[in-house]
């Protein structure tokens, strides 16, 4: 008996080692799959708190990716807006065209694509924005560009296979057809090249009541822009003595200083509209010309 005790005493460290190994392995094989939650329940409070702190920091590194995902999601939602669809009068329908219908007879009028700004200026009087999507992604001239929160940014004026050039609202040659949100009066929005936060709206008749802070939206009669996207809010108004119409100073809705993600919106029927418009004009010209 004494020898046994002596033996245990002599190899006490070794026995401790064996016991600890046994405990570890018992943890490993007993708790491994099903009881893991139980084993961890004790310490979860502790590790959880440290993990939370760590997450605060880690989140910043994934913000960009998260941002991109949200932007993409927004774009898919933008494509579902009822504004993008029109109801075609089917009673006088004579032909089938290629634009897809849904079951309610709605057809797509506007199609949105996400894009990222790769180059942007606000300081020149002719400001251009470059996007990372080009003709390969189906971008063509005259598509509307709105910022990620749905505010008007500009119009595509040139495309290469992988990039497209956008004429920003802050371009002295830019004119956008706009309408007052409250009364629906239509005018044009231009920029005088002075302040990147202020653009001008002209040709609004003086009969309209103007209040500071009124919203100005894209007009429903534009070929390029889908209707009801915010351009800006009225800052102040003056009267143009020459024409007797208002000159409204608008504060731009989109912040051109930090544009990152934008949507490029295509008017699917633009070609048809423009063709009709030009043909009509030609026809009228011919009529006006005195027959000989």
């Amino acid at each position: 008996m004494r020898n046994i005790f002596l033996f245990i005493r002599r190899y006490f460290t070794f026995f401790t080692f064996l016991v600890l190994q046994a405990v570890s392995l018992w943890f490993l094989f007993n708790y491994n799959r099903f009881h893991r939650a139980k084993f961890l329940g004790l310490a979860n409070e502790f590790t959880g708190r440290i993990n939370t702190q760590y997450n605060f920091v880690e989140d910043y590194f994934t913000l960009k990716e998260e941002n991109r995902r949200v932007h993409k999601m927004n774009d898919s939602l933008l494509n579902l807006l009822p504004l993008n669809f029109n109801r075609r009068d089917t009673s006088v329908q004579a032909y089938q065209d290629s634009i897809p219908y849904d079951t309610l007879g709605n057809y797509r009028r506007y199609l949105s694509r996400p894009a990222t700004v790769v180059y942007n200026t606000v300081n020149a009087d002719k400001n251009y924005i470059q996007l990372n999507r080009g003709s390969k992604d189906g971008i063509t001239d005259n598509m509307a560009v709105v910022s990620s929160d749905g505010h008007v940014v500009g119009v595509v004026i040139n495309v290469s296979p992988n990039f497209s050039q956008v004429m920003s609202l802050l371009h002295v040659q830019n004119t956008v057809s706009a309408a007052l949100k409250k009364t629906g009066e239509i005018g044009t929005v231009e920029w005088d090249g002075n302040n990147p936060r202020i653009i001008l709206m002209k040709k609004v008749p003086r009969t309209v009541e103007i209040n500071k802070g009124d919203s100005v939206l894209t007009s429903p009669v534009s070929f390029n822009f889908p209707p009801h996207y915010l351009i800006g809010t009225i800052e102040s108004s003056t009267v143009d003595a020459a024409t007797g119409t208002y000159i409204l100073k608008l504060r731009t809705a989109a912040n051109f200083y930090n544009l990152q993600h934008v949507h490029v919106i295509e008017n699917v029927e633009r070609e048809e509209q423009v063709k009709l418009f030009n043909e009509t004009r030609k026809k009228i010209e011919e009529v006006k010309r005195p027959p000989r």
Binding site: F14, T16, F17, L20, S24, W26, F27, Y31, N32, R36
Partner: protein
């Protein structure tokens, strides 16, 4: 700074680095898991008793297990290297020189070659045992061998780098202190 406080801080740093840096970065390959935390056990002072080493090792492994949700896996490997450590030190260093002059194992205390051999032996034991326990669940033998070699390689590289970047200025222990 007292010995105890220094080692507690060291343990916290090693565990945090292991959990939040080395386990988070994208690994070179699924076989190559960078492990560094067990360097804490290799750096424990000579003066810790063998029983103490065992319990400290068990605790270190268990804390990491809590973070990595692998109950017992690292604890088992740590207990093993904590048990073997005194024997390896005893073989590699003359009994009466370094152990009394320096506080803990380091390239300064043991010379570079014996120190790296000491690290290599314990690294292979740690990884070998741990991968073996993992391998009992899944995997084939070739995977096991490759994984042990690859993980040991990356660990040795990291420990070597750590020793070069953070040379521990250990005071020479004298009788006057």
């Amino acid at each position: 700074m007292s010995e105890l406080l220094r080692n507690i801080i060291r343990l916290a740093v090693f565990i945090l680095v292991q959990v939040y840096v080395l386990n988070k970065i994208p690994h070179l390959h699924k076989f190559i898991t960078p492990y560094l935390y067990y360097l804490f056990i290799l750096w424990l002072p000579f003066s810790v008793s063998r029983m103490g080493l065992l319990f400290v090792g068990f605790l270190t492994g268990l804390i990491l297990d809590y973070f990595m949700m692998t109950p017992g896996l690292h604890a088992a490997a740590c207990v093993l290297i904590a048990y073997v450590r005194p024997f390896v030190i005893g073989v590699l260093t003359p009994k009466d020189s370094s152990e009394f002059n320096y506080r803990e194992p380091s390239p300064r205390a043991m010379q570079w070659t014996p120190y790296m051999v000491y690290v290599l032996i314990l690294t292979v034991l740690h990884h070998g045992y741990m991968v073996f326990l993992e391998w009992l669940d899944v995997g084939n033998f070739l995977d096991f061998i490759i994984k042990v070699i690859a993980t040991t390689g990356i660990s040795m590289l990291m420990i070597f780098t750590v020793e070069l970047i953070f040379p521990r200025r250990l005071k020479f222990r004298t009788n006057t202190a």
